[in-house]
Symmetry: C2
Subunit: 574 residues, 2 copies
């Protein structure tokens, strides 16, 4: 393929820009591109395309900006051949590995509108109706979560003096914004002290007489909490990680212990709890903390209470899920991702504050963009220039509606339950924990090994100390082996490339303190049918059993060694 050389001139360039009068080219290329996209969706093929990463490195190896302009048509062809063809088919119903899933096609049309309008939400002069859409949308989500009074929302839905929350680029910035507010509320202006924001974190600790400040979250906390602690100057080691129970929920007793320990510290170790972070939908397992208990505890220790509901928050759209979230309405702030369970495209976060006054803690202004008395939304955001991304979520709530989301989540729940059931029945898999929000952690473990493991677990629980110790060693060895098996299986599945699940490590299973490598399925694609789940299981089982052959000798050795050890022991005892 030789691209046509383009001799650029200003008249040609002017025609590329959107013109109010005759954008014929726009319609023409629009139709062409719709056809390309249409074609793309019709392609089957692997999830990731078979090209290797080193091969891709060679395709994208230009080290300098190209000098000569190319025709749009030629660049579109290049995009099709080099990029679209080698993209990950995250929308495939066989792709059940990450929170990135299929999106409704109308989202693509909404993206066109957003780009064509090109509003900048930072300022009313660059975003008129879109500012109002964003405020309305934030009020909707705020009400969904915090359920304040009719009067509260009537007063604040379009109240430009306050902000109920922010639209952010993603959940990480959402969590960071919440913790920024938390830090300022922990060390606010007082007397001559201008607040942490103005004076800095070191002066804030000093003024308030603390040696240390911490943020507390469970071991399932998203890595963005640590990132935020780094950014905010709090320090990653001051994120205290609390163990979780078998259901991956924060261990309330362990939390209380930690807090008691903090409170009992000497004056030269005085520690401020800036925030306790609850999780409503852990990234790894989809479970929800006891949000109610966390709220009470946060109040008791005078800590800010943030809930990371980036994954699960949207489930509140369906009334029957509300009980899982009991207490969320009394949190100080909650973050939710639109590109997860609202089925929006990458990427958009939402962070909401129960008190309409909280974002005033980080309110700022400048002469040229956001004057102090303006109505500009940029006064309240961490980010500056922002697109009109919220149109997608706003429109989705209208088009899909609560009723539609109810059906989608119903399907997701059925998929999750069905997958768990067939895995449990298969004999060669083991599932972990009770899935609450469409995420299932499990692993491949051949039947024989699984039965041995069950046996040793029984011995470990009900036998003498010595026998129990021996069983525990066996459990450790076999888990170590099965961990290796699942890592290898996961890699082989990537090679096979007809299906996709992800992989992680959990310390919170019944085998604690053994860390368990698990496969992780996120079952939210409405096109993932039971038939497809059957297929996925079959493929994993087939490939898993093949790989297991390589592990058999090591497995036999463990068994033999046990037998031998028993013999030696028996001999000794003679």
């Amino acid at each position: 393929m030789t691209d046509k050389k383009v001799d650029s001139n200003l008249e040609y360039l002017k025609k590329l820009f959107i013109m109010p009068d005759s954008p014929d080219k726009f319609i023409e290329f629009g139709h062409q591109l719709l056809e390309i996209l249409h074609h793309l969706f019709q392609e089957r093929g692997g999830i990731h395309s078979s090209i290797t990463l080193p091969q891709l490195s060679m395709i994208f190896d230009q080290t300098a900006i190209p000098n000569n302009p190319k025709l749009i048509k030629d660049v579109l062809i290049e995009i099709k051949d080099k990029i679209i063809h080698h993209s990950v088919k995250v929308g495939s119903p066989y792709y059940i590995g990450h929170m990135t899933s299929a999106i409704p096609y109308f989202m693509i049309l909404l993206e066109m509108i957003i780009a064509a309008l090109n509003q900048n939400q930072v300022k009313i002069e660059t975003a008129k109706a879109s500012s109002f859409v964003e405020r309305e949308f934030l009020a909707w989500l705020h009400r969904l979560i915090f359920q304040r009074t009719d009067r509260f929302y009537e007063r604040n839905v379009q109240n430009h003096r306050i902000a109920l929350g922010n639209i952010t680029s993603d959940g990480t910035i959402g969590n960071m914004t919440a913790l920024l507010v938390a830090r300022e509320k922990a060390f606010p202006p007082k007397g001559g002290f201008p607040g942490c924001r103005i004076a800095g974190f070191d002066k804030a600790l000093k003024f308030y007489g603390y040696k240390r400040a911490v943020v507390i979250v469970s071991a399932r906390g998203h890595y963005s909490i640590k990132k935020a602690a780094n950014l905010l100057g709090i320090g990653e080691e001051n994120v205290l990680s609390i163990p979780v129970d078998l259901c991956n929920r924060i261990d309330i007793d362990a939390l209380k212990e930690t807090l008691k320990d903090i409170e009992s510290r000497e004056i030269d170790e005085r520690t401020k709890v800036i925030a306790i972070v609850g999780i409503a939908g852990t990234t790894e397992t989809g479970n929800i903390d006891n949000l109610d208990a966390l709220e009470q505890i946060s109040r008791d220790v005078d800590a800010y209470y943030h809930i990371d509901a980036c994954w699960g928050g949207s489930a509140l759209l369906v009334e029957e899920y509300r009980t899982l979230f009991k207490g969320i309405e009394r949190a100080d702030s909650v973050s939710v991702d639109a590109h997860k369970l609202l089925y929006c495209p990458m990427s958009m976060g939402i962070v909401l504050f129960r008190s309409e006054k909280d974002l005033n803690y980080i309110r700022h202004s400048s002469q040229y963009v956001i004057r102090r008395n303006s109505v500009d939304m940029g006064r309240f955001t961490v980010e500056g220039s922002r697109s009109f991304a919220c149109l997608k979520a706003w429109a989705a709530l209208k088009i899909i509606g609560r009723q539609g989301y109810s059906l989608l989540f119903g399907h997701a729940r059925n998929s999750t339950e069905y997958f768990k059931q067939i895995l449990d029945n298969s004999g060669d898999f083991e599932t972990f924990s009770q899935p609450e929000l469409f995420i299932l952690a499990y692993r491949f473990i051949p039947n024989a090994a699984r039965e041995k493991l069950i046996e040793w677990c029984k011995i470990s629980a009900h036998s003498s100390k010595e026998k129990s110790k021996e069983a525990k060693q066996n459990i450790r060895k076999i888990n170590h082996l099965i961990n290796g098996l699942n890592i290898k299986l996961h890699k082989a599945l990537r090679m096979d490339d007809t299906t996709f699940v992800s992989r992680t490590i959990l310390e919170s299973t019944q085998y604690r303190p053994n860390k368990i490598v698990v496969l992780r399925a996120v079952l939210i694609n409405p096109l993932t049918s039971e038939h497809i789940l059957d297929e996925i299981l079959e493929i994993q089982k087939r490939i898993g059993l093949q790989i297991w052959q390589g592990f058999e000798p090591a497995y036999q050795k463990i068994l033999e060694k046990l037998v031998n050890e028993k013999r030696i022991k028996a001999t000794r005892e003679i």
Copy 2:
């Protein structure tokens, strides 16, 4: 308009999702939407639409999420009537008020591709070719700025062990990322100390024996620098603002004074300069600091050197602009916004680090998303989930090419020079400073008042102390009056709504210490012709002179008072 009620069912919903086999609806609605957009571009009308903000409040006043699903068609009509119609026409050639301008129409098509692929750049498992495109694009920009060797780029263009930079949601996050790296490099791990990142900002200061840490930038510094200082725990009052000269460039002597002052501090006031920030294209005036001198100074005081080139950085695409940026290639990091002079849609920032190792200071990992030894780009970014936004800038550099950008910037420069020339010739305007990068600050000032001002300025400069003092008072009074006039004019122009410029306040004019309200034109729309600029001037002059009538009495009073004061003085002297 009564929307059709939709009875949702799962089959209907499934059809909304992108299906690999038959997305007929997608093509159908795509064509419809292209027509709607086409129609939108053909509409003339005002810049902002005439609807008032309170009226908009009443349109978007729903306080709860709608229950019943609506047809896509009905929601699109709603979007057209309520949103598109009341959006700001930032692409209009008469809109020369902000950095948000027209974009080439192919951007809209690229947005469709990005949404359809829905890649998440955080991880290779959710972004295959797109990860490689992003790295290639970052290498291009890195080379454009830092001009390192062929070998450097060949080795690093697709080196997944390092990162040359980040794509961010906007320039604010770009600047923040740079300052995060700067903070860590100021207080890195050493001996038993794990680094600021792990231990926190307070412990970092203590370990390194500092009482204070500061970031230095000129008075023209973007407000995101202060925001970053807040976020990073440094504190806003520790952003030291250095005055600028008449050309809005940092006053190098004043900077040296400040640094001398910092160095001479006693041990109990010991201050670390975390970073010096140069500006390559100030937001208000488009001027560029003496980047070369700043580099030398930064090295002398062992400070990190970041350049905020969010506005101007893209000008490096055109060789003739490089001299303005002399020294940028030796900065530690540079941020550039794609939604500004790369003519991409809202919003995308880029931050680049000269050393390929610098982003390792903030490298992080997690089990489930970005494993330590992975090739995932999320290891190096402040944000988490990110869209494939860089496709737009990557494709634009191919389609427009350096040659095309040269023509676009040539047109922008001609527009700026032409506008300055007609304003200067008109007699009723005053322009400020020499525009370097397509931004012009000016104000409306009727000829008579302007001439009086010139007269007083001469007296102030060349007369006795007393006469000079009197002249300065007059200058202050008249500037105060003209400030009021320009604020009123700006509001009236918003009402007129056929053209748009923005407004800000400058302290850096020849009238210092008087602060001057200025109108601000950003002249980058390739469709803004000389004829349109003539029109804009005429409208501003016409409305300005009308408003001036209301100011005349106050103006006369100033003149009379002067005459009276002269008389009284003369009488006294007799």
